[in-house]
């Protein structure tokens, strides 16, 4: 029986549970002996010209090795071309609170905090641009040499007359708010310059992309840069490659000729790690009273933050997935990305797709409320039919496989939808008679499809079997909690019969794995895993030939007994050869295969989420009490890992619906710069989740797998959001902006009462 599809506990865990991981700041290696500590000096003001920097007092502070500013970066190649290019250390202007202005290098960490306080920067304040409309109006521009804060646009408004044939049209504008990725380990780096080579240890999702970005930024050949990702304490998209602060740390090691370390505080993390989402949506949805949706348009304003990072491509992903799971006669979208004096936006779990799903799933509920039809029924009447695959959307996406109605029906059945609606009706009836208390029930649905491995790149793998009979897997994929070591070892043991404990998975070191892309966009198993699978099959073919030569038999007559890991002539155990024997015969380079797998197309996981919330109509507090999901990502390699990905995704999705928001005041001052202010979701705010199994394989790769890393987030946000609004719909509430905090829910209830 194949190990694939079975519940295998992780091989990573004994180490993590006894000694703890070795994250970047845990490194105790000779190369970093005597490393100095780096402390950043950040801008405390959202928008200003820098008129002077006095480092004198800081330099005189105990333990200070150096204080470095942009003026010290002369040896760095000028970053090129566009006026909006992001600098490393800010030279003459700052554009968000938290932007790096200088670094203090000290013998010890506490000394750095003291000395950073003594760096005196003179700022000449400029008006801050925070609001979407102010940014669009362009009264204040973030960059000289530009005539607008709009950095990118795409798409068109709906053509005139698009909605003319619709019996009902609903239009609404609402935010998909800015949130913090918040990996428990923030950014961290250590670096060393020795023998003409720059080595960076960094908490990154992609060592190879980090190497290339770093080499370009500091003007070195890629061969002169090594990047190592030690254990990485979560990423969620925010640790793709390296950002400017990490590059500054690596540059400092080279500039000073001394190893350095940096680990950010949580305050710095909330200010200076990319934020996610930050879109404003205007949806227009039209259809008939029989529940058929005829036309949908999504207009997006994407907050870029102060520099063009993710905002250049993330709203494009939102556009690509705008029509969701629905077969619509018309679906159109457009976006404008605008600069503001806030932290730049980057990828965060889902990265453009959760925004698309949140918009259309909210729109469908608004449409359902307008025509007075059950939202489950409206969905069912508009889903892409199971026989329509491959299905090409108006935006040009080609959905590979799916059965959206089956996913919807499964969650409705699994949750006991009819019973929930009955309970809701009973509570409402009691409430209308002044009985039963203030707590109402809300049921929220989301049906979704998303795109995984949509970046167009491939992934590398090298599989080697050595003369001890052990296998080593080198992968360009780069885990930060997903369990690659377990998953990829399962792929090898499945084909070769080498036991899991004799398989080592190596990743995240550009000297050991020079070519790779890394982990984001739910790509690891379908690209990296397929590459491992293919390399394993090649090694198996090599071994077959070697063993045939040893036994003096035809290779066609040989079989591998994967239960024992032995090669033999079919049916003749006397000829059995172990992997060690075959590998010894093959020689050092004998059993080794390199593969770069590139899929012909992305995959499109799908599913349905049903959230049940209780809302206390007196206080406005919403409590998520059940969450039932189907998340179909094709074949499941290891249900333990897949379920873990779903759990984490659901929690982050629910967090956006209910709690989490990065806020700035009108002057661009961060209001959520500590975990005392940012409402990170906790165990008390979540129920246990009810996961239903469904596997619709894809034919895009040999394993039949799609990505699972982001699905939970994509489905959960609109399901929970819709559930909150559903709980108070009978009071006349049609919409509440996310996050649906008690204050907002309470205000919506009272506003509805006032207008009733």
């Amino acid at each position: 029986m194949s190990i694939l599809g079975t519940r295998v506990v992780r091989t990573e865990d004994p180490r993590l549970l006894t000694q703890g991981g070795v994250y970047t700041d845990d490194l105790r290696i000779p190369e970093l002996d005597g490393a100095a500590r780096i402390t950043f000096v950040h801008s405390p003001i959202a928008h200003a010209r820098i008129t002077g920097i006095d480092t004198g007092a800081a330099l005189a502070s105990p333990g200070v090795v150096a204080v470095l500013t942009a003026a010290d970066m002369d040896e760095i190649p000028a970053a090129g071309g566009r006026p909006t290019t992001e600098p490393l250390l800010a030279a003459d202007r700052v554009r968000y609170v938290g932007e790096a202005v200088a670094i203090v290098v000290t013998e010890q960490g506490y000394q750095g905090e003291d000395a950073a306080e003594l760096v005196s920067v003179d700022y000449d304040p400029l008006p801050a641009v925070v609001d979407f409309d102010d940014a669009l109006a362009g009264g204040t521009l973030l960059f000289d040499g530009t005539d607008s804060n709009v950095i990118r646009t795409a798409g068109e408004p709906a053509p005139p007359g698009t909605f003319d044939g619709c019996e009902v049209v609903v239009q609404r504008t609402f935010p998909n708010q800015r949130v913090a990725p918040l990996p428990l380990e923030g950014r961290a780096a250590a670096a060393r310059w020795a023998d003409g080579r720059l080595t960076l240890w960094a908490s990154t999702q992609n060592a190879q992309l980090a190497r290339d970005a770093l080499a370009a930024a500091v003007g070195l050949d890629a061969a002169a840069v090594r990047v190592v990702a030690p254990d990485v304490g979560g990423g969620f998209g925010a640790k793709i490659a390296v950002d400017r602060d990490t590059i500054i740390v690596a540059w400092a090691a080279k500039h000073l000729g001394r190893p350095v370390r940096w680990v950010e505080t949580r305050n710095e993390n909330l200010l200076g790690m990319v934020h996610g989402r930050a879109q404003r949506h205007t949806i227009t949805i039209g259809g008939n009273r029989d529940g058929r949706i005829l036309a949908y348009h999504l207009d997006i304003v994407q907050d870029s933050g102060a520099y063009p990072r993710g905002a250049t491509f993330l709203p494009g992903l939102t556009q690509l997935m705008a029509s969701g799971v629905y077969d619509l006669a018309y679906c159109g979208s457009a976006f404008r990305s605008v600069l503001t004096n806030t932290m730049p936006i980057g990828a965060y779990r889902g990265a453009g797709r959760p925004e698309a799903t949140a918009a259309i799933e909210r729109a469908v509920d608004l449409f359902a409320a307008e025509i007075g039809m059950d939202p489950a029924e409206v969905r069912r009447r508009n889903l892409v039919a199971p026989e329509a695959f491959p299905y090409t959307t108006a935006s040009g996406a080609v959905y590979d496989t799916g059965d959206y109605a089956a996913a919807l029906d499964a969650v409705l059945s699994g949750a006991g939808y009819a019973g929930l609606r009955n309970e809701q009706a009973q509570r409402r009836a009691l409430s209308s008679q002044g009985q039963g208390g203030p707590v109402q029930l809300g049921i929220g649905l989301a049906t979704y499809v998303e795109i995984t491995a949509g970046d167009g790149g491939g992934e590398t793998s090298r599989v080697v079997v050595d003369a001890t009979g052990a296998a080593t897997v080198y992968t360009g994929s780069s885990p930060h909690g997903q369990g690659h070591e377990t998953a990829f070892a399962m792929l090898v043991t499945d084909q070769l019969g080498i036991p899991m404990d004799k398989i080592t998975v190596i990743h995240g070191d550009t000297d050991q794995v020079p070519i790779g892309i890394g982990t984001f966009g739910s790509r690891s198993l379908q690209l990296g895993g397929t590459a491992v699978h293919q390399a394993t099959l090649q090694v198996k073919d090599q071994a077959r030939e070697v063993a045939a030569g040893m036994i003096e038999a035809s290779s066609a007559d040989l079989e591998l007994d994967t239960a024992t890991g032995t090669w033999q002539v079919r049916g003749d155990p006397d000829t059995a050869l172990s992997w060690a024997e075959v590998a010894a015969e093959a020689g050092p380079a004998g059993l080794a295969a390199d593969v770069e797998f590139r899929a012909d197309s992305p995959t499109f996981p799908f599913g349905a989420h049903l959230a049940v919330v209780e809302v206390d109509t007196q206080t406005g507090k919403a409590t998520l009490i059940r969450h039932v999901t189907v998340d179909d990502a094709g074949k499941v390699l290891n249900p333990v890992l897949a379920e873990g990905q779903r759990h984490g995704g659901i929690a982050q999705g629910a967090a956006q619906a209910l709690l989490e928001e990065v806020r700035y005041d009108a002057e661009g001052n961060p209001q959520t710069s500590t975990l005392a202010d940012y409402a990170a979701i906790t165990a008390t705010e979540l129920p246990s989740f009810e996961l239903l199994a469904m596997e619709t394989p894809t034919s895009v790769n040999a394993l039949g797998v799609k990505g699972i890393g982001e699905a939970g987030t994509i489905g959960a946000t609109p399901a929970v959001h819709n559930a909150v609004i559903d709980a108070v719909a009978h009071l006349g509430v049609r919409h509440i902006d996310m996050p649906a905090t008690p204050q907002r829910i309470w205000a919506a209830i009272n506003e509805a009462k006032g207008s009733a």
Partner: protein, 176 residues
């Protein structure tokens, strides 16, 4: 005493216990996840009770017993029931919150050996995890309770003078 062994160092008045554990004792399992006592990544046991070691000065731990994740398994390497349960239930992904989460969970079961799910969730409110959605952490703590996770016999905590007492050991070594 850190994990039953004496650790002595001259430190600044303001040095936090978590930095003492990581730098002076060289035990890096305990992580720093925030600066506001919000995330619990730095949770250790101080005289057998869970504390956030970012909110205790090293000097306050002078002469007291500190237990970190590294000290939880028995000296022979047998895992504590909580460690076994976290693995069996997939209660960790990236592992960064794990040392603090495990220590907080151990303390939770010492106070309440047979908690309900709601009590586990309330007990872990001060420990953030961004990967698991808490689902499998809660299952792990409930499973550890079934495994007798509240007991300390056979674990690294036995023999430190802490088992069942919650009191400091009486060794002469000083954890200054």
């Amino acid at each position: 005493m850190v994990n039953g062994a004496p650790v002595a160092a001259d430190v600044e008045d303001r040095m936090l216990l978590v930095h003492f554990v990581r730098e002076a004792a060289g035990l890096t399992a305990t992580n720093v996840g925030c600066d506001t006592t919000s995330c619990g990544a730095c949770t250790v046991l101080l005289d057998g009770e869970s504390v956030k070691s970012c909110t205790i000065l090293a000097a306050q731990a002078d002469g007291r017993q500190v237990t970190t994740l590294e000290g939880l398994a028995s000296p022979g390497g047998e895992l504590h029931p909580m460690q076994r349960a976290f693995r069996a239930e997939h209660g960790l992904q990236c592992g960064f919150c794990t040392p603090g989460m495990v220590m907080a969970s151990v303390s939770l079961l010492q106070e309440n050996p047979h908690p309900t799910e709601a009590e586990v969730r309330a007990g872990l409110e001060g420990n953030l995890c961004r990967c698991t959605g808490y689902h499998n952490i809660v299952r792990a703590v409930l499973a550890a309770a079934e495994l007798g996770g509240a007991g300390l016999a056979g674990t690294g905590l036995a023999g430190t003078g802490l088992a069942g007492t919650g009191l400091a050991g009486t060794g002469e070594e000083r954890a200054s």
